[in-house]
Structure formats: C-alpha cells, structure tokens
Amino acid sequence: MTLTRKLWIGIMVLIVLSPLGLIVPDHFKAGSAWGEWGVEEIQKMTGYVPLGFQRLSELWKAPLPDYAFQGWEGKDLVHLSFAYIISAVSGIVIITGVAFLIGKVLAKEHE
C-alpha cells in the first residue's frame, strides 16, 4: 500500500473520531474557546455588547455554522455528532480539491 493511501486512511479515521472533539468538551462542561464567544456570552461576561462587535459579529451566515446544520443549536450530542462527521467530510472534500488545484498549478513537472 502506498504511503499516501495509508495517510488518507489516517485522515478517515480522524473523521470518524472527530465527534470526540464535541463530546469530550461537553462532558467536562467546557465552554467555547477563549475569544470565540457570541453576543449573549459577551453581554453576560462584560455587562454590555461592544458596538463594533454587535455590528460585525453577525456579518457572515455560514452554511454549516459551528460544524452543524442551521437551526441545530439545541440538538442532542447524537445529532450533533452526525452533523460533525458530515461537516468533516464536506470540509475535507472541498479543502482537498482546493489544495490539489493549487498544488497542480504551482508544482513543477520534473523532480
């Protein structure tokens, strides 16, 4: 088996295991990463919502917000884990495609 094939299998294993990145923090009741809070969290922590923050924070509506489907905020971990894996797969398909394209454009033909 070629090394690239082995590494792709490694990536697939990571995709399957990825919901651990959701379940483990949830189990330990860990919040979001430092500096990645939403409007409500900022309000709770500081007592106000910075004006510029309010204006910019909702700028972009991502198609799969926080690696889940839109409107899935309150779903249980089983649903969220499913969405997480779907997100991992779609992210990797697109990223691999883009990276291949860039690589093909840049790489030289001979060693």
């Binding site: 860990a30 990463a33 910075p50 926080d66 997100s87 690589g103």
Partner: protein, 226 residues
Amino acid sequence: MHIPDGYLSPATCGVFGAVMIPIWTAASRAVKKTLSVRQVPYLAIGAAFSFVIMMFNVPILGGSSGHAVGGVLVAILLGPWAACIAVTVALVIQALLFGDGGITAIGANCFNMAFVLPFVGYYVYKLISSNSPSGSVRRVIAAGAGAYVGICVAALSAGIEFGLQPLLYHTANGQALYCPYGLNVAVPAMVLGHLVVFGWVEVIVTALVVKYLQKQDSVFFEGGRS
C-alpha cells in the same frame, strides 16, 4: 485561536489582510520552486489533516476549550511555505463554510496559524534537529519542541491582536468597541491555555506522525526541504 468577526476592528483586519498578501505571494513563489508533482497529494493531505485535527476540541477543566493546528507538522514535512498554503486553505474553508473564524479576520487568523505557527515551529525544529540522522529520536524531540513553541507563539500573537483592541478602539466613556479584553487578560488567557494544554496536543500529534513517517519514508527528513 480562530478570531471571529467583531473582535478585531476593520482597520486591524485590513492591516493583517495587507500583511498576508506578500506572504501568500512569497509562499506561492517558494512552493512553485520546491514542490514537485509527486508531493502535491501530500499538500492536500496536509491541508486536510490540519482541518480535521482542529475539530478535536480539548477542554480545560471547567473553562474553555482549544485544539491543535497541525501546521508545524506540515512545515516539517513539506517546508514552512507549503504549510502556509495548506493551513490557509483550511482556515479559509473553515471561515466560509463553518463560520469558524471570521470572514473579516481571515488575514489575522492566517497570520497567526498559517504564518507564525509553521515558521516558528519549523525553525525551532531545524535548530534542534540540526543534521541528526533522519531516523533519530532527536528529530522526534525537535518536532515536538517545534510544535510546542510554534503554537504557543501563535497564541501569543492572537492574544496581542485581541488585547490591543480595547486600547485602540473604545467609546468616550471607556466601553470597548471590539474585543473587550485588554492585553493583561487576553495575552495570559491565550498563552496559558496553549502552554498548559493545547500546546501539548500539538506536540503529541506532531511527534507521533513524525515517528511514524521516519519508519515509512525517511525522505521527509533528509535536508533541503525549505
């Protein structure tokens, strides 16, 4: 370490976007010179790896969470310029598709995770591994050290970007306009989390893959790949 929209002022975002343009240009030039067609799949695997490893959030008990970036590993294997491109691709897709990291903060996030992290990590690795044999333990240790220093310096860089905001942008009555926490809070919060927990995740992931690849294909560790 993914700065969302609204935490950095538009001017700060503009500065980092402007800083990244020559870096991306230099990265394309460098990769054009050094990347062979045979290595293209590794560039794609590197970008995919960085993306998926960032999904593994690790908690700090009762506090926040964070993750590894994988960029130092890619820098060790393909060179820091290729790592810059691989991590940039991952970060841009994360921002656009998943809202992980802001659209306006793409420049700053790429500066921290696609430039500072792989370059610092790579040169620490180079310094420690020196010309040790490709299969040596010293190389694994050098990779781990590079991973640790790389991610911690990147976190420091993000902490400074966050922390400068309330100093530079506030209302007349002192309320922040963007990130509400100054350097005294943002820098320790970003750096400590990575020194104590997330940095070690980067170390383990990097060292394990380097150890595995030493056995598979030593060509990755025989000089000249910069």
